[in-house]
Subunit: 292 residues, 2 copies
Protein backbone atom coordinates (compact mmCIF):
# COMPACT_ATOMS: atom_id res chain seq x y z
CA UNK A 1 0.00 0.00 0.00
CA UNK A 2 2.40 2.67 1.29
CA UNK A 3 0.95 5.20 -1.11
CA UNK A 4 1.79 8.25 1.02
CA UNK A 5 4.82 9.87 -0.59
CA UNK A 6 5.23 12.93 1.61
CA UNK A 7 4.11 13.00 5.21
CA UNK A 8 3.96 16.12 7.38
CA UNK A 9 4.12 15.61 11.15
CA UNK A 10 3.19 18.68 13.16
CA UNK A 11 4.79 18.81 16.62
CA UNK A 12 7.43 16.21 17.54
CA UNK A 13 6.42 15.28 21.11
CA UNK A 14 6.29 11.68 22.26
CA UNK A 15 3.57 10.78 19.74
CA UNK A 16 4.75 12.95 16.83
CA UNK A 17 8.35 11.87 17.35
CA UNK A 18 7.42 8.20 17.57
CA UNK A 19 5.30 8.63 14.46
CA UNK A 20 8.26 10.10 12.55
CA UNK A 21 10.43 7.12 13.56
CA UNK A 22 7.69 4.62 12.66
CA UNK A 23 6.97 6.28 9.31
CA UNK A 24 10.69 6.21 8.46
CA UNK A 25 10.69 2.45 8.98
CA UNK A 26 7.39 1.54 7.32
CA UNK A 27 7.40 4.13 4.50
CA UNK A 28 11.10 4.06 3.58
CA UNK A 29 10.62 6.12 0.42
CA UNK A 30 8.41 8.86 1.87
CA UNK A 31 9.62 12.41 2.45
CA UNK A 32 9.10 13.22 6.14
CA UNK A 33 8.64 16.86 7.11
CA UNK A 34 8.38 17.84 10.76
CA UNK A 35 7.08 21.14 12.06
CA UNK A 36 7.92 22.34 15.54
CA UNK A 37 7.28 25.67 17.26
CA UNK A 38 10.84 25.78 18.64
CA UNK A 39 13.95 25.16 16.56
CA UNK A 40 15.56 23.31 19.54
CA UNK A 41 12.85 20.66 19.16
CA UNK A 42 13.89 20.25 15.50
CA UNK A 43 17.50 19.69 16.58
CA UNK A 44 16.28 16.76 18.67
CA UNK A 45 14.40 15.38 15.67
CA UNK A 46 17.50 15.63 13.44
CA UNK A 47 19.55 13.73 16.02
CA UNK A 48 17.13 10.80 16.02
CA UNK A 49 16.13 11.02 12.36
CA UNK A 50 18.63 12.83 10.15
CA UNK A 51 16.50 12.31 7.01
CA UNK A 52 13.58 14.34 8.36
CA UNK A 53 13.18 17.87 6.98
CA UNK A 54 12.49 20.20 9.89
CA UNK A 55 10.89 23.63 9.80
CA UNK A 56 9.29 26.09 12.20
CA UNK A 57 6.97 27.22 9.37
CA UNK A 58 3.73 25.31 8.85
CA UNK A 59 3.45 26.63 5.28
CA UNK A 60 6.91 25.25 4.45
CA UNK A 61 6.13 21.91 6.14
CA UNK A 62 2.99 21.43 4.06
CA UNK A 63 4.87 21.65 0.75
CA UNK A 64 4.01 18.57 -1.28
CA UNK A 65 2.44 16.71 1.68
CA UNK A 66 -0.12 14.00 0.83
CA UNK A 67 -0.81 13.37 4.52
CA UNK A 68 -0.55 15.76 7.48
CA UNK A 69 -0.83 14.57 11.08
CA UNK A 70 -1.55 17.05 13.87
CA UNK A 71 0.31 15.91 17.00
CA UNK A 72 0.19 19.06 19.11
CA UNK A 73 -2.05 19.42 22.19
CA UNK A 74 -5.73 19.62 21.22
CA UNK A 75 -6.16 23.32 22.18
CA UNK A 76 -3.48 24.31 19.63
CA UNK A 77 -4.94 22.35 16.71
CA UNK A 78 -7.34 24.97 15.42
CA UNK A 79 -4.63 27.59 14.93
CA UNK A 80 -2.52 25.01 13.09
CA UNK A 81 -5.49 24.06 10.89
CA UNK A 82 -5.95 27.70 9.91
CA UNK A 83 -2.31 27.95 8.90
CA UNK A 84 -2.59 24.75 6.88
CA UNK A 85 -5.53 25.98 4.81
CA UNK A 86 -3.69 29.27 4.24
CA UNK A 87 -0.67 27.34 2.86
CA UNK A 88 -0.03 25.96 -0.61
CA UNK A 89 -1.33 22.38 -0.34
CA UNK A 90 -1.54 19.48 -2.79
CA UNK A 91 -4.90 18.19 -4.13
CA UNK A 92 -4.07 14.83 -2.49
CA UNK A 93 -3.79 16.29 1.00
CA UNK A 94 -5.56 14.34 3.75
CA UNK A 95 -5.33 15.60 7.33
CA UNK A 96 -5.68 13.69 10.57
CA UNK A 97 -4.65 14.16 14.21
CA UNK A 98 -3.70 12.01 17.19
CA UNK A 99 -5.67 13.83 19.89
CA UNK A 100 -7.16 11.98 22.88
CA UNK A 101 -10.62 13.47 22.37
CA UNK A 102 -12.58 13.44 19.16
CA UNK A 103 -16.00 15.11 19.53
CA UNK A 104 -14.64 18.62 20.00
CA UNK A 105 -11.69 18.07 17.65
CA UNK A 106 -13.78 16.85 14.73
CA UNK A 107 -16.47 19.48 15.27
CA UNK A 108 -13.84 22.23 15.35
CA UNK A 109 -11.44 21.13 12.64
CA UNK A 110 -13.59 19.49 9.99
CA UNK A 111 -15.31 22.74 8.89
CA UNK A 112 -11.96 24.56 8.77
CA UNK A 113 -10.52 21.98 6.37
CA UNK A 114 -13.83 21.53 4.50
CA UNK A 115 -13.74 25.23 3.60
CA UNK A 116 -10.79 24.39 1.36
CA UNK A 117 -12.05 20.97 0.27
CA UNK A 118 -9.45 19.11 2.37
CA UNK A 119 -10.72 15.92 4.01
CA UNK A 120 -10.10 15.66 7.77
CA UNK A 121 -10.63 12.43 9.74
CA UNK A 122 -9.88 12.09 13.44
CA UNK A 123 -7.43 9.38 14.56
CA UNK A 124 -6.53 8.27 18.05
CA UNK A 125 -3.73 5.72 18.29
CA UNK A 126 -4.03 4.15 21.78
CA UNK A 127 -0.34 4.39 22.46
CA UNK A 128 1.68 6.62 24.68
CA UNK A 129 3.57 6.72 27.90
CA UNK A 130 3.75 8.68 31.13
CA UNK A 131 7.01 10.03 29.66
CA UNK A 132 6.88 12.93 27.20
CA UNK A 133 8.95 14.41 24.39
CA UNK A 134 11.03 13.30 21.43
CA UNK A 135 13.66 11.94 23.86
CA UNK A 136 11.26 9.11 24.78
CA UNK A 137 9.97 8.55 21.23
CA UNK A 138 9.98 4.94 20.03
CA UNK A 139 9.54 3.68 16.48
CA UNK A 140 7.59 0.64 17.71
CA UNK A 141 5.11 2.64 19.81
CA UNK A 142 2.22 1.92 17.43
CA UNK A 143 2.93 -1.77 16.83
CA UNK A 144 -0.22 -3.71 17.84
CA UNK A 145 -1.86 -0.61 19.31
CA UNK A 146 -5.53 0.02 18.64
CA UNK A 147 -6.02 3.09 16.43
CA UNK A 148 -9.52 4.56 16.62
CA UNK A 149 -10.71 6.41 13.51
CA UNK A 150 -13.75 8.66 13.76
CA UNK A 151 -15.09 9.24 10.24
CA UNK A 152 -18.40 11.01 9.73
CA UNK A 153 -21.10 10.19 7.18
CA UNK A 154 -19.71 12.91 4.93
CA UNK A 155 -16.18 11.45 4.97
CA UNK A 156 -15.07 10.42 1.44
CA UNK A 157 -14.47 6.67 1.42
CA UNK A 158 -11.24 7.04 -0.57
CA UNK A 159 -9.80 9.26 2.20
CA UNK A 160 -10.95 6.81 4.87
CA UNK A 161 -9.36 3.89 3.00
CA UNK A 162 -6.07 5.77 2.75
CA UNK A 163 -6.08 6.58 6.46
CA UNK A 164 -6.92 2.97 7.41
CA UNK A 165 -4.08 1.78 5.24
CA UNK A 166 -1.64 4.30 6.77
CA UNK A 167 -2.25 3.19 10.38
CA UNK A 168 -2.39 -0.49 9.46
CA UNK A 169 1.01 -0.13 7.75
CA UNK A 170 2.36 1.26 11.04
CA UNK A 171 1.15 -1.94 12.74
CA UNK A 172 -2.07 -0.67 14.33
CA UNK A 173 -5.35 -2.55 14.76
CA UNK A 174 -7.72 -0.04 13.12
CA UNK A 175 -11.17 0.41 14.69
CA UNK A 176 -13.87 2.82 13.52
CA UNK A 177 -16.53 4.60 15.53
CA UNK A 178 -18.30 7.94 15.71
CA UNK A 179 -16.60 10.82 17.55
CA UNK A 180 -19.22 10.52 20.33
CA UNK A 181 -18.67 6.77 20.73
CA UNK A 182 -14.93 7.40 20.79
CA UNK A 183 -15.21 9.93 23.59
CA UNK A 184 -17.44 7.61 25.62
CA UNK A 185 -15.19 4.55 25.23
CA UNK A 186 -11.97 6.46 25.80
CA UNK A 187 -13.36 8.18 28.89
CA UNK A 188 -13.82 4.71 30.37
CA UNK A 189 -10.68 2.95 29.15
CA UNK A 190 -8.13 5.78 29.33
CA UNK A 191 -9.28 8.99 31.03
CA UNK A 192 -10.96 7.25 33.99
CA UNK A 193 -7.92 5.02 34.71
CA UNK A 194 -5.73 8.12 34.57
CA UNK A 195 -7.94 9.92 37.09
CA UNK A 196 -8.08 6.83 39.33
CA UNK A 197 -4.28 6.52 39.32
CA UNK A 198 -4.10 10.15 40.45
CA UNK A 199 -6.66 9.55 43.22
CA UNK A 200 -4.89 6.38 44.37
CA UNK A 201 -1.60 8.24 44.61
CA UNK A 202 -3.13 11.10 46.59
CA UNK A 203 -5.06 8.83 48.97
CA UNK A 204 -1.98 6.65 49.50
CA UNK A 205 0.67 9.30 50.03
CA UNK A 206 -0.63 12.85 50.42
CA UNK A 207 -1.08 12.96 54.20
CA UNK A 208 1.87 10.67 54.98
CA UNK A 209 4.33 9.39 52.39
CA UNK A 210 6.26 7.07 54.72
CA UNK A 211 4.75 4.03 53.01
CA UNK A 212 6.83 4.67 49.88
CA UNK A 213 9.68 2.25 50.80
CA UNK A 214 7.06 -0.51 51.11
CA UNK A 215 5.83 -0.05 47.53
CA UNK A 216 5.84 -3.06 45.21
CA UNK A 217 4.67 -3.82 41.68
CA UNK A 218 0.98 -3.44 42.52
CA UNK A 219 1.35 0.19 43.59
CA UNK A 220 3.77 0.97 40.77
CA UNK A 221 1.48 -0.38 38.07
CA UNK A 222 -1.76 0.96 39.50
CA UNK A 223 -0.39 4.51 39.74
CA UNK A 224 2.15 4.63 36.88
CA UNK A 225 0.14 6.96 34.65
CA UNK A 226 -0.23 9.51 37.49
CA UNK A 227 3.30 10.57 36.48
CA UNK A 228 1.91 11.85 33.19
CA UNK A 229 2.14 15.50 32.21
CA UNK A 230 -0.38 17.45 34.37
CA UNK A 231 -0.97 20.20 31.80
CA UNK A 232 -1.62 17.77 28.98
CA UNK A 233 -3.94 15.69 31.15
CA UNK A 234 -5.90 18.60 32.58
CA UNK A 235 -6.55 19.59 28.95
CA UNK A 236 -7.71 16.08 28.05
CA UNK A 237 -9.98 15.72 31.08
CA UNK A 238 -11.50 19.13 30.47
CA UNK A 239 -12.05 18.49 26.73
CA UNK A 240 -13.89 15.23 27.52
CA UNK A 241 -15.46 16.55 30.69
CA UNK A 242 -19.02 15.24 30.33
CA UNK A 243 -17.96 11.65 29.65
CA UNK A 244 -15.21 11.74 32.28
CA UNK A 245 -17.65 13.05 34.88
CA UNK A 246 -20.10 10.25 34.06
CA UNK A 247 -17.33 7.69 34.50
CA UNK A 248 -16.17 9.27 37.78
CA UNK A 249 -19.75 9.24 39.08
CA UNK A 250 -19.90 5.52 38.34
CA UNK A 251 -16.58 5.04 40.13
CA UNK A 252 -17.96 6.98 43.08
CA UNK A 253 -21.02 4.71 43.17
CA UNK A 254 -18.86 1.58 43.16
CA UNK A 255 -16.58 3.11 45.82
CA UNK A 256 -19.56 3.76 48.09
CA UNK A 257 -20.73 0.20 47.46
CA UNK A 258 -17.35 -1.16 48.50
CA UNK A 259 -17.30 0.97 51.65
CA UNK A 260 -20.75 -0.37 52.54
CA UNK A 261 -19.65 -3.96 51.93
CA UNK A 262 -16.60 -3.51 54.16
CA UNK A 263 -18.73 -1.92 56.87
CA UNK A 264 -21.30 -4.72 56.66
CA UNK A 265 -18.60 -7.37 57.11
CA UNK A 266 -20.30 -9.65 54.57
CA UNK A 267 -17.25 -11.43 53.21
CA UNK A 268 -19.10 -13.55 50.64
CA UNK A 269 -20.66 -10.42 49.12
CA UNK A 270 -17.27 -8.71 49.16
CA UNK A 271 -15.68 -11.68 47.39
CA UNK A 272 -18.43 -11.62 44.78
CA UNK A 273 -17.88 -7.85 44.27
CA UNK A 274 -14.18 -8.52 43.66
CA UNK A 275 -15.01 -11.51 41.45
CA UNK A 276 -17.25 -9.38 39.21
CA UNK A 277 -14.30 -7.03 38.59
CA UNK A 278 -11.94 -9.96 38.00
CA UNK A 279 -14.31 -11.45 35.41
CA UNK A 280 -14.32 -8.16 33.49
CA UNK A 281 -10.56 -7.59 33.82
CA UNK A 282 -9.88 -11.13 32.59
CA UNK A 283 -11.67 -10.22 29.32
CA UNK A 284 -8.91 -7.72 28.47
CA UNK A 285 -6.35 -9.36 26.16
CA UNK A 286 -2.74 -9.40 27.33
CA UNK A 287 -0.41 -7.23 25.26
CA UNK A 288 0.71 -9.18 22.16
CA UNK A 289 4.32 -9.52 23.32
CA UNK A 290 3.12 -11.36 26.43
CA UNK A 291 0.62 -13.64 24.71
CA UNK A 292 1.53 -17.31 25.02
CA UNK B 1 25.01 -16.11 57.32
CA UNK B 2 22.82 -18.93 55.95
CA UNK B 3 22.55 -20.46 59.39
CA UNK B 4 19.14 -22.05 58.81
CA UNK B 5 19.76 -25.74 58.26
CA UNK B 6 16.21 -26.99 57.94
CA UNK B 7 13.37 -24.82 56.69
CA UNK B 8 9.69 -25.74 56.82
CA UNK B 9 7.37 -24.00 54.33
CA UNK B 10 3.70 -24.43 55.07
CA UNK B 11 1.43 -24.19 52.02
CA UNK B 12 3.03 -23.99 48.57
CA UNK B 13 0.93 -21.32 46.83
CA UNK B 14 2.53 -18.56 44.81
CA UNK B 15 4.43 -17.18 47.82
CA UNK B 16 5.26 -20.48 49.53
CA UNK B 17 6.28 -22.06 46.24
CA UNK B 18 8.44 -19.09 45.28
CA UNK B 19 9.96 -19.19 48.75
CA UNK B 20 10.88 -22.86 48.34
CA UNK B 21 12.58 -22.10 45.01
CA UNK B 22 14.40 -19.07 46.45
CA UNK B 23 15.54 -20.97 49.57
CA UNK B 24 16.89 -23.79 47.39
CA UNK B 25 19.05 -21.27 45.56
CA UNK B 26 20.24 -19.16 48.49
CA UNK B 27 20.51 -21.90 51.16
CA UNK B 28 21.89 -24.74 49.02
CA UNK B 29 22.66 -26.97 52.01
CA UNK B 30 19.36 -26.55 53.86
CA UNK B 31 16.76 -29.30 54.11
CA UNK B 32 13.48 -27.96 52.70
CA UNK B 33 10.24 -29.48 53.95
CA UNK B 34 6.94 -28.41 52.43
CA UNK B 35 3.53 -29.01 53.96
CA UNK B 36 0.40 -28.91 51.86
CA UNK B 37 -3.19 -29.83 52.68
CA UNK B 38 -3.59 -31.74 49.41
CA UNK B 39 -1.12 -34.31 48.13
CA UNK B 40 -1.69 -33.06 44.55
CA UNK B 41 -0.12 -29.76 45.60
CA UNK B 42 2.94 -31.69 46.78
CA UNK B 43 3.24 -33.36 43.37
CA UNK B 44 3.49 -29.89 41.84
CA UNK B 45 6.21 -28.99 44.35
CA UNK B 46 8.22 -32.15 43.53
CA UNK B 47 8.03 -31.33 39.83
CA UNK B 48 9.57 -27.89 40.35
CA UNK B 49 11.85 -28.84 43.25
CA UNK B 50 12.68 -32.55 43.48
CA UNK B 51 14.88 -32.06 46.56
CA UNK B 52 11.98 -30.76 48.71
CA UNK B 53 10.49 -33.21 51.21
CA UNK B 54 6.72 -32.99 51.00
CA UNK B 55 4.15 -34.04 53.57
CA UNK B 56 0.50 -33.51 54.34
CA UNK B 57 1.31 -33.76 58.06
CA UNK B 58 2.36 -30.61 59.89
CA UNK B 59 3.97 -32.68 62.68
CA UNK B 60 6.14 -34.51 60.14
CA UNK B 61 7.05 -31.26 58.36
CA UNK B 62 8.25 -29.68 61.59
CA UNK B 63 10.82 -32.42 62.26
CA UNK B 64 14.20 -30.78 62.76
CA UNK B 65 13.07 -27.39 61.43
CA UNK B 66 15.01 -24.33 62.62
CA UNK B 67 12.69 -21.99 60.73
CA UNK B 68 9.02 -22.40 59.81
CA UNK B 69 7.18 -20.04 57.47
CA UNK B 70 3.39 -19.93 57.38
CA UNK B 71 2.29 -19.21 53.80
CA UNK B 72 -1.37 -20.22 53.96
CA UNK B 73 -4.22 -17.65 53.91
CA UNK B 74 -4.36 -15.66 57.16
CA UNK B 75 -7.62 -17.25 58.42
CA UNK B 76 -5.97 -20.70 58.39
CA UNK B 77 -2.84 -19.71 60.31
CA UNK B 78 -4.13 -20.20 63.84
CA UNK B 79 -5.07 -23.85 63.26
CA UNK B 80 -1.61 -24.45 61.77
CA UNK B 81 0.04 -22.76 64.76
CA UNK B 82 -1.81 -25.06 67.13
CA UNK B 83 -0.59 -28.10 65.23
CA UNK B 84 2.97 -26.78 65.29
CA UNK B 85 3.05 -26.37 69.06
CA UNK B 86 1.58 -29.87 69.43
CA UNK B 87 4.43 -31.28 67.31
CA UNK B 88 7.93 -32.29 68.26
CA UNK B 89 9.95 -29.11 67.57
CA UNK B 90 13.61 -28.18 67.95
CA UNK B 91 14.81 -25.67 70.57
CA UNK B 92 16.08 -23.51 67.67
CA UNK B 93 12.67 -23.17 66.05
CA UNK B 94 11.70 -19.67 64.93
CA UNK B 95 8.33 -19.13 63.24
CA UNK B 96 7.25 -16.40 60.84
CA UNK B 97 4.54 -15.91 58.22
CA UNK B 98 4.05 -14.04 54.95
CA UNK B 99 0.52 -12.70 55.53
CA UNK B 100 -0.60 -9.34 54.14
CA UNK B 101 -1.92 -8.11 57.50
CA UNK B 102 0.03 -8.08 60.72
CA UNK B 103 -1.99 -6.62 63.63
CA UNK B 104 -4.45 -9.50 63.82
CA UNK B 105 -1.87 -12.12 62.83
CA UNK B 106 0.65 -11.14 65.50
CA UNK B 107 -2.03 -10.71 68.18
CA UNK B 108 -3.45 -14.14 67.39
CA UNK B 109 -0.33 -16.21 66.78
CA UNK B 110 2.27 -14.82 69.17
CA UNK B 111 0.53 -16.10 72.34
CA UNK B 112 0.00 -19.53 70.77
CA UNK B 113 3.73 -19.92 70.08
CA UNK B 114 4.76 -18.16 73.33
CA UNK B 115 2.89 -20.84 75.28
CA UNK B 116 5.60 -23.24 74.13
CA UNK B 117 8.47 -20.72 74.24
CA UNK B 118 8.71 -20.50 70.44
CA UNK B 119 9.48 -17.02 69.09
CA UNK B 120 7.10 -15.75 66.40
CA UNK B 121 7.78 -12.62 64.33
CA UNK B 122 5.51 -11.41 61.52
CA UNK B 123 7.01 -10.95 58.05
CA UNK B 124 5.45 -9.47 54.95
CA UNK B 125 7.52 -9.71 51.78
CA UNK B 126 6.06 -7.13 49.36
CA UNK B 127 6.11 -9.50 46.43
CA UNK B 128 3.39 -11.32 44.62
CA UNK B 129 1.39 -11.35 41.48
CA UNK B 130 -2.20 -11.36 40.30
CA UNK B 131 -1.47 -15.00 39.37
CA UNK B 132 -1.70 -17.69 42.06
CA UNK B 133 -0.34 -21.14 42.81
CA UNK B 134 2.90 -23.09 42.57
CA UNK B 135 2.59 -23.06 38.77
CA UNK B 136 3.40 -19.32 38.79
CA UNK B 137 6.07 -19.55 41.52
CA UNK B 138 9.37 -17.82 40.73
CA UNK B 139 12.66 -18.20 42.57
CA UNK B 140 13.48 -14.51 42.01
CA UNK B 141 10.18 -13.20 43.38
CA UNK B 142 11.83 -11.77 46.52
CA UNK B 143 14.87 -10.24 44.85
CA UNK B 144 14.90 -6.50 45.71
CA UNK B 145 11.44 -6.68 47.29
CA UNK B 146 10.80 -4.86 50.54
CA UNK B 147 10.21 -7.30 53.41
CA UNK B 148 8.41 -5.75 56.37
CA UNK B 149 9.16 -7.34 59.77
CA UNK B 150 6.90 -6.55 62.70
CA UNK B 151 8.76 -7.44 65.91
CA UNK B 152 7.31 -6.49 69.30
CA UNK B 153 9.18 -5.20 72.34
CA UNK B 154 9.20 -8.71 73.75
CA UNK B 155 10.80 -10.18 70.59
CA UNK B 156 14.21 -11.76 71.43
CA UNK B 157 16.89 -9.87 69.48
CA UNK B 158 18.66 -13.09 68.47
CA UNK B 159 15.46 -14.30 66.77
CA UNK B 160 14.99 -10.94 65.05
CA UNK B 161 18.60 -11.00 63.82
CA UNK B 162 18.13 -14.48 62.38
CA UNK B 163 14.92 -13.46 60.60
CA UNK B 164 16.53 -10.29 59.18
CA UNK B 165 19.42 -12.37 57.93
CA UNK B 166 17.08 -14.93 56.35
CA UNK B 167 15.15 -12.38 54.26
CA UNK B 168 18.28 -10.41 53.38
CA UNK B 169 19.86 -13.63 52.09
CA UNK B 170 16.84 -14.06 49.81
CA UNK B 171 17.57 -10.59 48.38
CA UNK B 172 14.97 -8.54 50.27
CA UNK B 173 15.34 -4.99 51.59
CA UNK B 174 14.37 -5.58 55.24
CA UNK B 175 12.30 -2.87 56.97
CA UNK B 176 11.01 -2.99 60.55
CA UNK B 177 7.88 -1.46 62.00
CA UNK B 178 5.15 -2.22 64.52
CA UNK B 179 2.20 -4.40 63.43
CA UNK B 180 -0.05 -1.30 63.57
CA UNK B 181 2.31 0.78 61.42
CA UNK B 182 2.54 -2.12 58.98
CA UNK B 183 -1.21 -2.33 58.59
CA UNK B 184 -1.49 1.44 58.08
CA UNK B 185 1.27 1.62 55.46
CA UNK B 186 0.17 -1.51 53.62
CA UNK B 187 -3.46 -0.36 53.54
CA UNK B 188 -2.24 2.69 51.60
CA UNK B 189 0.40 1.13 49.35
CA UNK B 190 -1.17 -2.25 48.59
CA UNK B 191 -4.77 -2.75 49.73
CA UNK B 192 -6.01 0.66 48.52
CA UNK B 193 -4.43 0.26 45.05
CA UNK B 194 -6.05 -3.18 44.83
CA UNK B 195 -9.46 -1.74 45.68
CA UNK B 196 -8.98 1.14 43.24
CA UNK B 197 -8.05 -1.25 40.42
CA UNK B 198 -11.29 -3.13 41.13
CA UNK B 199 -13.33 0.10 41.11
CA UNK B 200 -11.67 1.31 37.91
CA UNK B 201 -12.49 -1.97 36.18
CA UNK B 202 -16.12 -1.87 37.30
CA UNK B 203 -16.62 1.80 36.38
CA UNK B 204 -14.95 1.25 33.01
CA UNK B 205 -16.63 -1.95 31.91
CA UNK B 206 -19.56 -3.08 34.05
CA UNK B 207 -22.41 -1.31 32.24
CA UNK B 208 -20.86 -1.59 28.77
CA UNK B 209 -17.70 -3.52 27.98
CA UNK B 210 -17.43 -2.46 24.34
CA UNK B 211 -14.43 -0.28 25.15
CA UNK B 212 -12.25 -3.36 25.73
CA UNK B 213 -10.74 -3.46 22.21
CA UNK B 214 -9.58 0.15 22.75
CA UNK B 215 -7.56 -0.75 25.87
CA UNK B 216 -3.87 0.14 25.95
CA UNK B 217 -1.07 -0.05 28.50
CA UNK B 218 -2.60 2.58 30.80
CA UNK B 219 -5.75 0.54 31.40
CA UNK B 220 -3.84 -2.73 31.61
CA UNK B 221 -1.42 -1.45 34.25
CA UNK B 222 -3.94 0.52 36.27
CA UNK B 223 -6.26 -2.47 36.59
CA UNK B 224 -3.85 -5.45 36.49
CA UNK B 225 -4.22 -6.42 40.14
CA UNK B 226 -8.02 -6.56 39.81
CA UNK B 227 -7.38 -10.03 38.31
CA UNK B 228 -6.16 -11.20 41.71
CA UNK B 229 -7.90 -14.01 43.61
CA UNK B 230 -11.23 -12.60 44.94
CA UNK B 231 -11.38 -14.92 47.96
CA UNK B 232 -7.84 -14.14 49.05
CA UNK B 233 -8.40 -10.41 48.61
CA UNK B 234 -11.74 -10.29 50.36
CA UNK B 235 -9.97 -11.93 53.31
CA UNK B 236 -7.16 -9.36 53.23
CA UNK B 237 -9.50 -6.36 52.95
CA UNK B 238 -11.66 -7.68 55.78
CA UNK B 239 -8.67 -8.41 58.04
CA UNK B 240 -7.37 -4.87 57.57
CA UNK B 241 -10.80 -3.31 57.40
CA UNK B 242 -10.31 -0.24 59.61
CA UNK B 243 -7.20 0.96 57.78
CA UNK B 244 -8.62 0.11 54.35
CA UNK B 245 -11.80 2.03 55.14
CA UNK B 246 -9.77 5.07 56.21
CA UNK B 247 -7.83 4.93 52.93
CA UNK B 248 -11.04 4.52 50.88
CA UNK B 249 -12.60 7.50 52.67
CA UNK B 250 -9.57 9.57 51.69
CA UNK B 251 -9.90 8.34 48.09
CA UNK B 252 -13.58 9.30 48.18
CA UNK B 253 -12.67 12.80 49.37
CA UNK B 254 -10.14 13.23 46.57
CA UNK B 255 -12.65 11.84 44.05
CA UNK B 256 -15.25 14.39 45.13
CA UNK B 257 -12.59 17.10 44.87
CA UNK B 258 -11.79 16.05 41.32
CA UNK B 259 -15.48 16.00 40.34
CA UNK B 260 -15.84 19.54 41.74
CA UNK B 261 -12.76 20.73 39.85
CA UNK B 262 -14.09 19.29 36.59
CA UNK B 263 -17.47 20.87 37.20
CA UNK B 264 -15.91 24.23 38.00
CA UNK B 265 -13.93 24.21 34.75
CA UNK B 266 -10.89 25.74 36.49
CA UNK B 267 -8.15 24.20 34.37
CA UNK B 268 -5.24 25.71 36.30
CA UNK B 269 -6.57 24.23 39.56
CA UNK B 270 -7.14 20.91 37.82
CA UNK B 271 -3.57 20.92 36.49
CA UNK B 272 -2.26 21.68 39.97
CA UNK B 273 -4.35 18.80 41.42
CA UNK B 274 -2.78 16.44 38.85
CA UNK B 275 0.67 17.93 39.50
CA UNK B 276 0.40 17.23 43.24
CA UNK B 277 -0.20 13.54 42.46
CA UNK B 278 2.65 13.48 39.93
CA UNK B 279 5.06 14.95 42.49
CA UNK B 280 4.19 12.16 44.95
CA UNK B 281 4.26 9.41 42.31
CA UNK B 282 7.65 10.60 41.10
CA UNK B 283 9.05 9.93 44.61
CA UNK B 284 8.46 6.18 44.16
CA UNK B 285 11.69 4.51 43.00
CA UNK B 286 11.55 2.56 39.75
CA UNK B 287 11.97 -1.19 40.16
CA UNK B 288 15.69 -2.03 40.31
CA UNK B 289 15.75 -3.81 36.95
CA UNK B 290 14.59 -0.60 35.30
CA UNK B 291 16.90 1.76 37.16
CA UNK B 292 19.42 3.47 34.89
Amino acid sequence: MNQESSIAILAPGLLGGSLALAVRKKFPLAVIRVWARRSEALDEVRQRLPSAIGSTSIAETMQGASLAILCMPVPHMKAAAEQIIAANTTPQLLVTDVGSVKGSVVTTLEPVFASKGIPFIGSHPMAGSHATGMAHARGDLFQNAACLLTPRESTPSEALNRLRSFWATLGCRVLEMSPAEHDRHVARISHLPHAMAVLTTLAALKDDNRAIPCAAGGFRDTTRVASGDPTMWSGILRENRAEVLAALQDASGHLNGLIELLNSGDEAQLASFLASAKALRDLVPAPPELRL
